[in-house]
């Protein structure tokens, strides 16, 4: 269904709006069209392909900064109205939704049935399901439930020429045909536009509790986190952050230099036991304080930890996401955050311990340092990550820095396969040209 109302960009369903800064990507201001159904999306893509336009799918725009600067960009496809819940059967613990639904809205529906989708991106009120998958990012809950790609059961994608294709299914166990959705999770919309997704859901734990422990060194804090990782307890989330993060975001009422937040869930006795175990692991690890948060504080703390670096209040000059083997986190945080820096930037880190993710944010206290100095900071950090066998992608930085620095880490030889994938699915280079790895 296409409504022909022409107001704010997001209301102008099916109409092409003029260039405007509501949809700017890296300073480029394309035209935009807002779509509310699959047919409209398919038509918009086949038209764009015919006219040789470069398009970028747009969810909530929360992570529009991710990727290299587009080589070309003519039109935004706003999917935020493609937001229906197509199918939800709580008893099956599965749901199929259109890609433009916001993560928060979906979670509200699921919560009514005592369930949730174990994906917690920044800014979930705006972040859409499709956008979150396209950037492949999640938040701290991936600790127990895995990468978002592990929760996708099936996917409907509109290809660059407008063809609608499906893969996977709506059931939790399936090996029929190739698992195509894997290419689109983290594919930044360069091989097709995610239109509909079927997910595996998780029951909400009967009870939850969050502990925050303070330590006087990064090493101690991360070691305590690893001790939890190795213990009999399986937390819902496990995040380490430093005092600077806390000062900026007011994460929780527990203060200290280096903080470890442990989120636990379960039935009453299980929860008590898990709390006991984690408390004692933190004490053994040299914690100066260990406190359980009240319910409201806990909810707020996890929201702030997931949003950090993406909401207005905490927006850094530059952010990176490093993925390393879990035991190497302390080493890279030490090197990157505490080493000397070629530019006067303050480095603040947030780690998903046990999973091996470090979110590294740099803030300029004074005037913005020169472009080359910022780039040098990123390059050194990347070297430190490589030294421990990890990879680091830069998720945001000042536009001039993008010109001389690849936002994506090297992918090595498989880049040839990736280029051929692009040729197969988007030979006209319609979708997000130039934003992905290796100039794809």
């Amino acid at each position: 269904m296409v409504e022909r109302v022409f107001q704010r960009p997001a209301d102008a369903l099916g109409e092409i709006t003029n260039h405007n800064d509501a949809y700017s990507i890296d300073g480029l201001q394309p035209t935009a069209v807002c779509l509310s159904d699959l047919q409209g999306l398919s038509d918009a893509l086949s038209e764009a392909a015919k006219d040789g336009l470069a398009v970028a799918p747009w969810g909530g725009g929360t992570r529009a900064a991710i990727g290299n600067r587009p080589a070309r960009l003519d039109r935004i496809l706003d999917l935020s109205r493609l937001s229906r819940i197509v199918h939800y059967n709580p008893a099956d613990l599965t749901a199929t939704v259109e890609a433009g639904i916001s993560v928060a809205e979906l979670q509200r529906h699921l919560a009514e049935q005592g369930q949730f989708l174990a994906i917690d991106p920044p800014l979930p009120d705006r972040a859409t399901v499709g956008g979150t998958l396209a950037v492949g990012g999640s938040g701290p809950t991936k600790w127990q439930f895995g990468h978002p790609r592990d929760l996708v059961l099936g996917m409907k994608v509109v290809q660059a020429d407008g063809t609608v294709v499906s893969s996977g299914g709506q059931v939790v166990k399936n090996v029929s045909g190739y698992d195509m959705a894997r290419l689109h999770v983290g594919g930044l919309g360069t091989l097709g536009v995610i239109a509909e997704v079927s997910f595996k859901l998780t029951p909400l734990p009967q009870g939850e509790a969050t502990l925050v422990a303070a330590f006087d060194s990064t090493t101690r804090c991360l070691a305590a986190g690893l001790a939890v990782f190795h213990s009999v307890v399986t937390p819902l989330a496990l995040a380490a952050y430093d005092a600077a993060v806390d000062e900026r975001a007011h994460v929780a009422p527990v203060k200290g230099h280096h903080l470890l937040a442990v989120r636990l869930g379960g039935r009453p006795l299980t929860l008590q036991r898990a709390l006991r175990e984690c408390r004692s692991l933190c004490h053994q690890g040299g914690a100066t304080t260990v406190e359980a948060l009240g319910e409201a504080d806990a909810v707020a703390a996890w929201r702030k930890l997931a949003d950090f670096g993406w909401d207005e209040a905490t927006a850094p000059l530059m952010s990176a996401r490093a993925s390393v083997p879990p035991t190497k986190l302390a080493e890279i945080v030490e090197t990157i955050a505490n080493g000397d820096s070629p530019a006067a930037l303050r480095c603040e880190t947030l780690c998903h311990v046990g999973y091996g993710t470090a979110l590294i944010h740099w803030f300029a206290d004074g005037p913005e340092p020169p472009t080359h100095a910022i780039a040098e900071v990123a390059t050194r950090a990347r070297k430190a990550v490589h030294a421990v066998g990890g990879r680091m992608n830069i998720e945001r930085c000042p536009l001039p820095v993008k010109a001389g620095l690849d936002m994506w880490d090297q992918v090595g030889e498989p880049i040839a396969i990736m280029r051929r994938l692009k040729e197969q699915y988007d030979p006209g280079n319609v979708l997000n040209p130039g934003r992905f790895v290796g100039g794809i």
Binding site: V172, K173, G186
Partner: protein, 480 residues
């Protein structure tokens, strides 16, 4: 012929004479896998390294001989069945555990390693490899990766793809590349992710980086016996609906019970219509709380009896009937055709009732074994291949069961793969455009038709023609 001889000579130069099998009598063991198809290769090569594999791939490509990778050959959809006149690369010499990183819970292994041997090897560190296909005593990690194998304990912990971080592969151009690495997040397209479950059609896996899990503190197994299958199904829905995702949730029907009773004397009560086997693990408190809740739910559906066990030996006894079923089916009929499909869990009652109808109408008994927790069905159509026409009929019933699975919102295969067995059914689930999009992975991996040609995608032949005979060649100790 001379060309074939020269290929064999080249292969021998790569891996040594001993590791090229080409005499017709010796090749017969490689003609089958666990499915119903067969194909005689020109030669079977047993490489010892990725370099060997690469050279073999180059030689085969030059001679335009198709290649089929092979692990233990336990696949149930014909994935490892050779292409006539092609080369089989058997990875059963490459069985090393190259590294166990206990702190990061990672293992790096070769593809020929037997699944269970990995868990055995890391057990001392309190770790295990979670995917546990019922064939785990023999099937290989490479085969698990290619089929994205599941197992009874995948309900809570996920199937193979959730446990593979990276792998070294040999592509059709002979290059050796790493897809993925030791970290949990990837950069660029998740090539590792599409390769898992691609049934040997895109690349040959030569090393795998796997995630290991820590062993739970406590485990409890519950066995609940019901008079009616419907009650057991309702209990399954009740358990999932109560927000419990047990480690395993298995079910079997009256025919399976009869077979198990006859062979392993599991001691099920007379008149049992369904057995539910539930396993919970984790903190001992969690195990207690969840198992109590599960018993409470089961009791709502009037079970004939509920047994529980926590120590390993006792638990093994509760599993014995379940594990013995497949071998025991042979007591009921000379042959069975094992079907693998998944349905939404809430459709269990409906689908099992319709399978029962099919059985009554056709006169073929159908025994139902289910990974009920994730809706994965394994109905086995019992028949006698010596009766003319019965094989075909059994296969047709299998096809109708798959149609039914898709009709209720399910899929063609939950864990055994498409291979040769189900390729003609793909259009039930996927449009031309869907399959076309999948098929484009081959040019992207530059595979051509070198690896496992003619599988997964439909050829246009009728399903029953594709099968020669439906004789499952699984031993008496086997279980699905």
């Amino acid at each position: 012929m001379t060309d074939q001889n020269s290929l064999i000579t080249e292969l021998k130069a790569i891996v040594g004479d001993t590791y090229v099998v080409h005499e017709p009598d010796d090749l017969i063991v490689y003609e089958y896998d666990g499915s119903v198809d067969k194909g005689l290769p020109l030669a079977v090569v047993l490489p010892d390294s990725a370099q060997d594999v690469s050279l073999v791939v180059n030689a085969a490509r030059t001679h335009r001989a198709p290649i089929v990778a092979r692990g233990a050959g336990t696949g149930l959809s014909g994935g490892a069945v050779a292409s006539e006149g092609g080369i089989v690369i058997a990875l059963t010499r490459m069985t090393r555990i190259l590294e166990v990183d206990v702190e990061n819970r990672i293992a790096v292994v070769e593809p020929g390693l037997v699944n269970l041997e990995l868990s055995n090897a890391v057990s001392g560190h309190g770790l295990y490899f979670a995917p546990d296909p019922s064939s785990q005593k023999v099937c290989t990690i490479g085969g698990n990766v290619a089929e994205n194998a599941g197992g009874p304990h995948c309900l809570a912990y996920g199937v193979t793809t959730n446990h593979v971080l990276g792998m070294e592969v040999v592509l059709a151009d002979g290059s050796i590349q790493w897809l993925g690495d030791r970290t949990r997040e990837s950069t660029g397209y998740d090539l590792r992710g599409v390769l898992v479950g691609s049934e040997g059609t895109l690349a040959i896996v030569t090393k795998v980086i796997l995630r290991l899990l820590k062993k739970p503190e406590a485990v409890k197994t519950l066995l609940a016996v019901f008079k009616e299958l419907d009650d057991a199904s309702a209990a399954v829905s009740g358990i999932i609906g109560a927000g419990i995702v047990p480690a395993a949730l298995e079910m079997m029907d009256d025919l399976c019970i009869e077979a198990a009773e006859a062979s392993v004397h599991a001691g099920y009560p007379d008149g049992a219509g369904a057995v539910l086997l539930v396993e919970v693990d984790g903190l001992s408190e969690a195990v207690e709380e969840e198992s109590e809740e599960i018993q409470r739910i089961c009791r709502q559906f009037g079970p004939m009896e509920i047994r529980t066990a926590t120590d390993a030996g006792e638990r093994e006894r509760l599993w014995a009937g379940r594990k013995g079923v497949l071998g025991a089916l042979g007591r009921l009929a000379p042959n069975y055709y094992l079907v693998d499909g998944t349905i939404p869990r809430t459709k269990l009652v409906e689908v099992l009732a319709r399978i029962k109808e099919m059985s009554v109408e056709s006169g073929f008994p159908i025994a139902n074994l289910l990974h009920a927790g994730d809706g994965n069905l394994h109905p086995s159509v019992l028949f006698d291949e010596r009766k003319p026409g019965d094989t075909k009929k059994a296969l047709e019933i299998g096809g109708r069961i798959l149609e039914l699975c898709v009709e209720v919102g399910g899929v063609l295969s939950g864990e055994h793969g498409i291979g040769l067995e189900k390729q003609e059914y793909m259009p039930l689930m996927f449009s031309e455009a869907d399959m076309n999009a999948m098929a484009r992975l081959k040019p992207a991996f530059a595979t051509g038709d070198l690896f496992n040609p003619g599988k997964v995608f439909p050829t246009g032949a009728s399903c029953a023609d594709v099968f020669q005979a439906a004789v499952s060649k699984v031993g008496p100790g086997a279980w699905i």
